[in-house]
């Protein structure tokens, strides 16, 4: 009954400290910083200038190019300036700084909480609306949703999988969303199904969220073509390829995309955002963020406006504990460590984890004892020890033959290594070098 992917995987301590903490809507902060690049692809171009009065939900930066996404103002107020700021990745980028005044929304946005289940829009209208509303994948990759909803010619899609796995330890925002906004999530799933013209949706949820499995299974009875698939707890099951394999047995070919096996995967949070965009005309200006950590006083799940400083989120969770040594944006396995907390929440921020200093440093690296645990842990069937050494020795051609580009950087190898070797650091180096080399080959 509980399915899973067959090869590799690990089971890190779950630490879902906030699983039973209902979503709390945080008050609008006095100022927000809204980066123009919160997605994969080209940054959006600002269409406001200093002094422009904006309402919440108003477009402030327009998508530029095919892979890009619109950015909307999450608050009402006046544009203070457009300047470069450090974002959650640690890089500087353009952002719009808005001084908040009141909380006035664009009139077309329906802010009521009544559930609208009936889907009146056509396929084209749905895709167009998702594009207008600046929707991106909220699982972490932030790929523009409208592109994923458009099946390229020559490809066929017969199944949508909604990713409710949330296999990263600590994070619970998707879990809470499924529990508290389950009907909206499933309506969103039905909308995605319609946009792609498919008959079937599978919602994959890991067994450590039995309440969500039960709740959504009950709700799914009221929808056509939606089934809930309970999954065995195993990291990295939230990876698209692993989730597809677990739910359907289909194996996305090396270097391929889910569409190569007729599947589109969307995150639970994205399904919810699709619901809000299509049924309520609400752009993506809010999201749920888990703020947690073993020593955090009041860890919780918070619904915040995009652009809210991470500092305010940490304050809402009872402040930063004195011995905090590391702050991670995202999950502990794939998230990014923040150098400073004075950065804004973006569309891709799923969680903020505060690690006490004793958990913030890596252990001393020891010699590889060739135990092979990294190979056993790799869900892609790679040999992390080998591609890591090949990268370390700059033998990139060999690393390419060993399929280094199949690595999704889930970190299971580095997690499991008893000698604490920085396997993924070297693999990242090798992977990016190999991808660059491959690109140069094409241009030559």
């Amino acid at each position: 009954m509980f399915k899973t992917f067959p090869k590799g995987g690990i089971h890190p301590p779950e630490n879902k400290l906030t699983a039973d903490k209902p979503i709390v809507v945080l008050p609008v902060p006095p100022q927000v910083t809204v980066p123009v690049s919160q997605h994969i692809g080209a940054p959006a171009v600002p269409v406001v200038e200093k002094g422009t009065e904006v309402k919440a939900g108003q477009i402030i930066a327009e998508a530029k190019g095919f892979v890009s996404a619109n950015i909307h103002s999450p608050v009402s107020g006046k544009v203070n300036k457009i300047d470069t700021f450090v974002d959650t990745t640690g890089y500087k980028q353009t952002a719009v700084l808005i001084d908040v005044q009141g909380d006035e929304w664009v009139e077309t946005v329906d802010r009521s909480t009544t559930l609208v289940k009936e889907i009146t829009m056509t396929r084209e209208q749905i895709i167009e609306r998702c594009k207008e509303c600046g929707l991106v994948g909220l699982g972490g990759a932030t790929f523009p949703t409208h592109i994923k909803m458009t099946v390229p010619s020559g490809k066929k899609c017969d199944l949508v999988i909604i990713n409710g796995v949330e296999c990263e330890p600590y994070l619970t925002s998707d879990h809470r969303l499924m529990l508290e906004r389950g009907a909206e999530v499933l309506t969103g799933a039905a909308i995605i199904m319609k946009a792609l013209g498919v008959e079937r949706v599978i919602v994959g949820i890991e067994a450590n969220k039995p309440d969500a499995i039960k709740h959504l299974t009950d709700l799914a009875a009221g929808f056509q073509g939606i089934t809930i698939q309970p999954l065995k707890v195993k990291y990295p099951q939230g990876g698209e390829k692993q989730l597809i394999k677990a739910c359907t047995g289909r194996e996305v070919p090396s270097g391929g995309l889910p569409l190569d096996v007729g599947v589109v995967v969307q995150n639970v949070g994205t399904a919810y955002a699709v619901y809000e965009a299509v049924q309520k005309n609400k752009p993506l200006v809010e999201r749920v963020v888990t703020v947690t950590g073993k020593k955090v006083k009041e860890p919780g799940n918070f619904q915040v406006r995009i652009g809210t400083p991470v500092t305010s989120l940490i304050e809402a969770a009872g402040g930063m504990p004195d011995d905090t040594g590391k702050v991670v944006n995202g999950g502990p396995m794939m998230g990014k460590a923040l150098a400073m907390t004075d950065v804004p929440v973006t569309k891709g921020t799923s969680g903020i984890i505060l690690f006490p200093s004793e958990e913030s440093r890596r252990a001393v690296v020891q010699p590889c004892i060739r135990c092979g645990k990294c190979s056993s842990a790799c869900a892609m069937g790679l040999e992390p020890w080998l591609i890591s050494v090949l990268s370390e020795k700059a033998m990139f051609e060999k690393a390419e033959e060993e399929k280094i580009t199949d690595c999704m950087e889930c970190g299971a190898c580095a997690y499991t290594c008893p000698a604490k070797r920085p396997l993924l650091d070297y693999i990242r180096l090798g992977k990016s070098t190999v991808i660059r080399m491959a690109r140069e080959r094409i241009t030559k």
């Binding site: 190569d260 252990a363 004892i369 008893p418």
Partner: protein, 333 residues
């Protein structure tokens, strides 16, 4: 808010498993067999074990400290495991100076010259053991008889191992069934009531240790099972072909170093393959070579040689036996 934040690439957490914990796990798994040894051989087993462990650790420490001039890493526990395994592979009446020579060869030659933990191609304890076997053939094949706990050490009463009796007898034209009369029953063999290296005799205790290793995920089943199944099948075929000339498979599984070899020696991380497929090939190779040596070789026992020979193939197995890559077989749904 004045915290200085550490920044590093993901993953931001690591498992609690460390080299040291794994090595310590092996030590725990060896405890039942050590207890059985002390029960059957007495004080000698304790002296041999202590000498071997202490000298292995000392040799590693001295080489790292004074020759390599680097921070000694004896706390990783690998020298302790080598010391225990070396002790398990020698008779319990072996004089201290020979054990020390064995430790010098194991750690000094087989491990440190190749670069220390993780770099040695051959199992250090087995290199030490085989060195001693060819250098001190008499001392290394004078097997104390298991008489229950006693305080004798060098003056222990010795006798032949069941494999020795079998091998010698068959050469002299005796039938297997006649030879079996001179050998303890299979049940006694299972508990360890026989002559042999101090740690190899008690199959029951070694199996308990093996189950612990697999339960704690320190090793996988692939190597031990493939070795034992191969030995059972190969000797089983020979036995069915001619039961007067060949001993039964159970006899082969319960005698000599096969259990110790399959569970503890062949599964040494550093000198065994890293993929499950590779492990099975390696295990089958060890099983086949062991039976070949036992049946047609000059020595009555061949597990040590079989493991060392297959150790040499490990780099090849690691290079050519690959795990199945995800998405290699393109399937369209």
């Amino acid at each position: 808010m004045n915290n200085i934040l550490n920044v590093s690439p993901s993953p931001h957490q690591q498992s609690i498993e460390t080299t040291r914990r794994l090595m310590f796990g092996v030590v725990i798994a060896l405890a039942p067999a050590l207890a059985a040894s002390v029960y059957f051989f007495g004080l000698g087993a304790i002296i041999v074990t202590l000498t071997s462990v202490l000298s292995c650790v000392a040799v590693e420490y001295l080489i790292q400290k004074f020759i390599l001039k680097k921070e000694p890493s004896i706390s990783d526990g690998s020298a302790v495991v080598t010391g225990l395994l070396l002790a398990f592979n020698v008779p319990s009446n072996l004089p201290v100076y020979i054990i020390v020579i064995g430790a010098v060869i194991s750690i000094g030659v087989a491990k440190m010259t190749f670069g220390g933990l993780g770099s040695n191609p051959f199992n250090p304890a087995l290199v030490g053991r085989v060195f001693l076997l060819v250098s001190f053939p008499v001392k290394m094949t004078s097997w104390p008889v298991p008489t229950g706990f006693k305080t004798g050490y060098l003056d222990a009463v010795t006798g032949a191992t069941p494999l020795g009796i079998m091998s010698e007898g068959i050469k002299n034209g005796e039938t297997v069934s006649a030879l079996m009369e001179k050998i303890p029953s299979h049940m006694q063999l299972f508990y360890g009531y026989m002559g042999g290296s101090m740690g190899e005799i008690a199959a029951a205790a070694l199996i308990i240790g093996g189950i612990y290793l697999i339960w704690k995920k320190i090793i996988t089943w692939h190597i031990p099972v493939s070795i034992l199944v191969t030995v059972a099948l190969f000797t089983g075929i020979l036995w069915l072909a001619d039961p007067t000339k060949f001993a039964d498979p159970l006899f082969h599984l319960l005698t000599g170093g096969i259990m110790l070899g399959a569970i503890f020696m062949a599964t040494d991380y550093v000198t065994s393959p890293m993929t499950h497929k590779g492990m099975i090939i390696y295990g089958v190779g060890i099983g086949v070579i062991t039976v070949l040596i036992r049946t047609w070789g000059a020595y009555p026992e061949g597990v040590s040689f079989a493991i060392l020979i297959m150790n040499a193939f490990v780099p090849l197995l690691n290079m050519y036996i690959k795990p199945k890559r995800f998405g290699k077989e393109v399937k369209h749904g």
